[in-house]
Amino acid sequence: MSAPATIPAESAPIRFRDTQIEMAHGAGGKASRRLVEGLFAPLLFGNATGPLGDAAHIDIGGAKVAITTDSFVVKPLTFPGGSIGELAVNGTVNDLAVSGAKAEALVVTYVLEAGLPTSLLEAEVRAMARAASAAGVRIAGGDTKVVEHGKADQMYITTSGIGRPLRGVTIDPSAVRPGDKVLLSGPIGDHGITILLARGELDLEADLRSDTRSVLPLVEALVNAAGPGIRWMRDPTRGGVATSLNELARDCGLGVVLLEDQIPVRDAVRGACELLGLDPLHIANEGQFLAVMAPEYADAAINALAMMPGGGEAQVIGEIREQPAGSVLVTTLYGGSRIIDMLVGDPLPRIC
């Protein structure tokens, strides 16, 4: 959540009318957007009306930097394929990457619950060190707070990062045009479903791992091969692909039309979603990104990603159309179609 820099206005209109904060306000879907746009933006971002991106790009005396921050409250702390420490590094690196910047340094804040075994903390600090080294980012400092036992759930981590804008790419939803292609870096839903199963509340098992990773190498490959064709990028974390693309549709005033059979989803994720009545398009990811490309660059983009480790399952999953303006439409092979909205409510709390 970041916005263009302007001076905050004391008299800015507050449009947020919900009387109390609920889990849905942190789920990344409609309620989160209402909170950010209705309360935070008018009071903190100087009533900025521009679209809110994954990171803010600011100018400090002529030097351009990207800055972002993200908190992690995932439960359980470790799960197949990753842990909170890795998420905390990759999440912030990825927010910078999809805003077109390479993470240079992170600072980290730990909120710890009294009674937390040191071994758990050490394991997560080690996980952060490994993830930072893999992502090529420095951890430059941090802060620690401890709260009474029972007042937090083991451990929360916040990371803030600054990054250097990548040359040759500009992320701007207003540059999106009808005919542009929507590209997805790989299969969706792995992270959210892995966390759900890792909680052990369902008697369901599947051979599935979180997709947490730094997407920076893939984004760099995309920028190198097709930078001028990139209009917009986003990592579809909470709220999933459907929520990210709905935000795009609203920000650019155009329609996003997806071809359901082109969207890569592993069978284990599809199966769990069928059983639980969830839509994979609403499930969180931690190692994927969406890009909207000028059509003439789409092939080059897919080819460039295919040459990278972990990029072989990238797909064009749809395109931008004039209609349905402001909405996302999913079409099926047999001619049916449905509108898919942002995530409403919070079916899977605390997944990152």
């Binding site: 109390q20 904060i21 609920e22 889990m23 849905a24 409609k30 309620a31 509340e201 369902l202 329609g255 039309v257 069978d267 599809r270 199966g271 069928e274 639980l276 009545g277 159309r321 004039e322 209609q323 349905p324 303006a325 909405s327 439409l329 079409t331 099926t332 092979l333 047999y334 001619g335 049916g336 179609s337 449905r338 509108i339 898919i340 909205d341 409403v344 409510g345 079916p347």
Partner: protein, 375 residues
């Protein structure tokens, strides 16, 4: 994915759709009610309306257990959970259904111990894990979910688990269909019969619909091909002027139902003389309560229940929509005061509720002007 992809096969679907167009012709208008909320959800999720010809009208029925629950029952259940050391456990569908003081989720945000469970046995597990608390399972559902509540209660009794109770809202499908047919403003040609309920009760309980009411009914599965095939079967009957019960969902539904499940229900439950349904009023013998031999696990007997009756907001037309008299978007509140985020009626909450399904999948599609360019 097996058992799913076969029933979404594009070529078979377009062939079946072609067959439907041929059978339906253009001269006659067909009104078919899908009784089950699961079917309503599937119709919108798979965009089946785009595939069916215009003269086949699907009417959404009352088969969404969350939707038919009057608001007073939710208030009653939450009033138990207000007491100290009570855990309120319910299916996820219930969590955003509004009571007069807010939904279970809003109560949770204010500190109530509210848990989502995926089966009644998970609620019993919670009771085992929290011996110093009382776990109340807020049970909802038709005959689909009633047997698992029954089996859970039988286990609680066998194991002597005393910190567990059920607030029973189980309802039965046949009296609801009867009430629909009694409704004077309802003109229906045929029924798409509920699939999951029928796995338990079988197909025989529908025979009066064919014999006495002369309406064909086909018990249907939930995949696109299942539903389209059921429409074909209904059209064959209607064209010949027949009215029979047929079973399209043979791979799951036995004609005689599930005897073991029915036995478990009979062991634990008895019929209430009458029960209030949202928008449809009191329907006799339409709901279940726990037998006296299970009184110790019956939240309505263990706790003081206020027995609140709450009238629905006047402007909301949930009843008309539940009975299929109005389409969701014809309700005065639809999409304005009542949205999935701020639901007024439960039909806007559950994924099986016709208002939520219509809002999520169809509403804005209908609003987008030139959709023809996309197909």
């Amino acid at each position: 994915m097996r058992f799913v992809d076969e029933f979404r096969e594009p070529e078979l679907i377009s062939k079946t759709a072609e067959e439907i167009r041929r059978l339906a012709g253009t001269k006659r208008h067909y009104r078919m009610m899908e009784v089950c909320g699961g079917h309503t959800h599937a119709i919108y999720r798979f965009g089946l309306k785009d595939i069916l010809p215009e003269n086949i009208e699907l009417i959404h029925g009352p088969g969404c257990p969350v939707c038919v629950l009057p608001m007073g029952r939710i208030d009653d259940g939450l009033s138990v959970a207000q007491q100290p050391d009570v855990i309120f456990a319910a299916f996820g569908d219930m969590m955003r259904v509004p009571g007069t003081q807010g939904s279970p989720l809003e109560h949770k945000a204010r500190g109530m111990d509210v848990r989502i469970v995926y089966s009644p046995s998970d609620a019993l597990k919670l009771a085992r894990l929290n011996p110093d608390k009382h776990v109340m399972f807020f049970a909802i559902g038709f005959e689909t979910t009633a047997p698992s509540t029954a089996l859970t209660l039988m286990r609680a009794k066998a194991e002597g688990i005393r910190n567990f109770s059920v607030f029973c809202n189980h309802v039965t499908i046949i009296p609801a269909i009867r009430a629909i047919l009694d409704s004077p403003d309802m003109r229906l040609d045929a029924f798409i019969g509920p699939g999951h309920v029928s796995t338990v009760i079988g197909c025989r309980p529908y025979e009066w619909i064919a014999q006495n009411e002369h309406k064909p009914i086909v018990v249907s599965g939930f995949e696109p091909l299942d539903m389209l095939q059921s429409v074909v079967m209904l059209l064959h009957q209607l064209r010949k002027g027949e009215a029979r019960v047929e079973n399209q969902y043979k791979r799951v539904v036995p004609w005689e139902g599930n005897r073991a499940a029915l036995r478990a229900m009979a062991e634990v439950f008895q019929l209430r003389p009458y029960f209030e349904w949202r928008g449809m009023g009191f329907i006799s013998q339409s709901a279940l309560r726990l037998r006296d031999s299970y009184a110790e696990w019956d939240a309505e007997q263990r706790f003081v229940i206020p027995g609140i009756r709450v009238t629905d907001p006047k402007a909301a037309q949930c009843g008309e929509v539940l009975k299929g008299v109005l389409k969701p978007h014809q309700c005065k509140l639809f999409g304005r005061e009542c949205t999935p985020e701020h639901p007024i009626g439960a039909l806007m909450v559950s994924s099986e509720g016709s208002c939520a399904a219509y809002f999520n999948y169809e509403h804005r599609k209908a609003m987008a002007s030139s959709l023809s360019s996309i197909a």
